[in-house]
């Protein structure tokens, strides 16, 4: 697979207006995205996801480093690079609220140099695919947030570019619409397009993305296949149920010794990843300290959500990370 998007050691420092305060939004970030890949860009709030996406689109210029899209420098050869990417940035904010669904589609296509006639059938197809027929002549202002989000994605699709970047496409949607958008994204991915999704919505990542790049404080924390990360945690995840709550001391010990995925609120059960088979004896030793009776000990399935939290909280032991890279290789 050839590389479509390449980030080469990009950095961005914002200067707060008026003040002297500076924010390092992205620091020395590098990764590549191959044609046809579906990548989830993850990270806690303020990690630099939006900044990264906007730098890939050339809407924000990096202070250092380069972004290449289809081997065109997004800063120096912006217009050529833009033939390969489109973006859904602020979702519903990227639309003209005083124009109808169809007018928005036509206007954005027009600004790419297409005549209304030449895109008519494609617009009809998209309106159908995105189930917006009944709203075709409705002002965007009167649409629900989910409808607006779908239209914003349709606008990006109409561009017909090889890659699509989406910043938080399911943000603020109810469960049902979120699911619908996820299915639309899946369809888009299956068309063979390259898709980059920045999101906090872990089911989207678990469901759609082949690979995830997790950034934290503007740096790459993890860059791996979603399935590898899931497998890594899954094979070692155990849920433990107890007859009485853990003591404070036991909780502290567990946290210090293991990658604890979660504790129940009443501390009568927890999920834990065990790094090697012997670790189960260490776990038992900690439980024995208070003679805590064990009711059940099971292999458990985990959600990507837990994996993500683990990775971000930095509770993964270093050798596990190495192992993860090994899985990738």
């Amino acid at each position: 697979m050839s590389t479509l998007i390449e980030l080469e050691a990009i950095s961005k420092i914002y200067k707060k207006r008026g003040g002297k305060e500076k924010v390092a939004a992205v620091t020395d970030l590098s990764f590549e995205i191959a044609r046809g890949e579906i990548v989830g860009l993850l990270g806690p709030n303020g990690a630099g996801k939006t900044t990264t996406i906007k730098m890939i689109c050339g809407l924000i210029r990096p202070d250092e480093g380069h972004v290449f899209v289809n081997s065109f420098d997004i800063v120096r050869e912006r217009q050529k690079a833009l033939r390969s990417i489109s973006a859904v940035l602020e979702g519903n904010r990227n639309l003209y609220w005083r124009m109808t669904v169809q007018e928005n589609l036509e206007y954005f296509a027009g600004n790419r140099g297409h005549s209304a006639r030449s895109v008519r059938s494609e617009i009809n197809r998209l309106i159908e695919q995105f189930r917006l027929e009944s709203k075709r002549h409705e002002l965007v202002n009167n649409l629900s947030r989910g409808m607006q989000q779908k239209l914003a994605i349709a606008v990006a699709m109409l561009a017909g570019t090889e890659a699509v970047l989406l910043d938080e496409p399911t943000l603020g949607l109810d469960v049902e619409t979120g699911y619908e958008v996820r299915e639309l994204l899946r369809a888009i991915a299956q068309e063979g397009r390259t898709v980059i999704i920045s999101t906090h919505d872990m089911p989207v990542v678990q469901d759609l993305c082949e690979r995830t790049v997790i950034i934290s404080s503007g740096r790459v924390l993890v860059d791996d296949r979603v399935s590898s990360l899931m497998k890594l945690f899954e094979t070692k995840a155990y849920s433990v149920s107890l007859a009485k709550p853990l003591s404070q001391m036991q909780v502290t010990r567990l946290k210090a010794t293991f990658a604890v995925l979660s504790f129940a609120d009443d501390y009568k059960s927890f999920t834990v990843t065990l790094e090697h088979d012997e670790a189960i004896y260490t776990l038992m030793d900690i439980l024995r300290l208070e003679r805590t009776p064990v009711e059940a000990l099971d292999r458990t399935s985990i959600h990507f959500e837990q994996v993500f939290r683990q990775l971000v909280n930095g509770q993964v032991k270093n050798h596990q990370m190495r192992e993860s890279n090994h899985v990738l290789a």
Partner: protein, 257 residues
Amino acid sequence: MYLLNVVGANLRKVAIEMRRYLPNTISMIVTIYAIFLMFFLGIKFIGNPSSAEANTQYMIVTTVMWFLTLMAMQGIGWEITTEATRGTLEQLYMSPVPAWFILFARMLATILLNLVVYAVILLLIMATSSQWLRFDLLTLLPLFFISILGMIGVGFMVAGLALIFKQIQAFLQIAQFIFLAMVAVPIGLSPYLELVPVVRASSMIREAMTSGVSLFDFGANAWLLLSLNAFVYFSLGLLIYKWAETRAMNLGLLGQY
């Protein structure tokens, strides 16, 4: 060809908004008409009867030019500010067509469609005042064409400022009156006025419409100065806009709210 489609799309957008906000458009027409009427009656009953006709015509053309300049030069400032706040500006910047061209198309569309509206108002006014202006298209078309380029140049400057300084509303309020001065002052007053945008254009359009000065009567010098002024302001406007755009991209201002 594809650039023509960009202009077409923007003509359609401006037309759609004019039609959709028809009450706004109509109230604008009525307002302008009322202003004319007031001026006209004022001149007729209070002014010197011997110069009333010339004054009325002067005022009619000047007002049309003023509104046109406002549309072109100030309108784009508002639009950039709202589009940056809304987020649509970033979407425009995702087009492989350079954003300056899209803005150019937007300003052109705004001016052209407003010219149509003003033509309607002009007819109403001329009928009311029975002062018939001259419409020598052979002279007026090139005059308007060149003037519009100059206006769009200034529009680009305002747009550039709007990208960087989000609070330009206050400036735009004052600019209205600067624009009025620019379209109202006769070019013959001082040679330095050649350096100011739109002044010569407005003066020549006025002469063509009130005194019937024709294409050839103006002389080569007048046309040269007019074109030079329009060209310089168009280029300067574009340069300032591109500079502001780079700065906005460095500071991350294109989509800030």
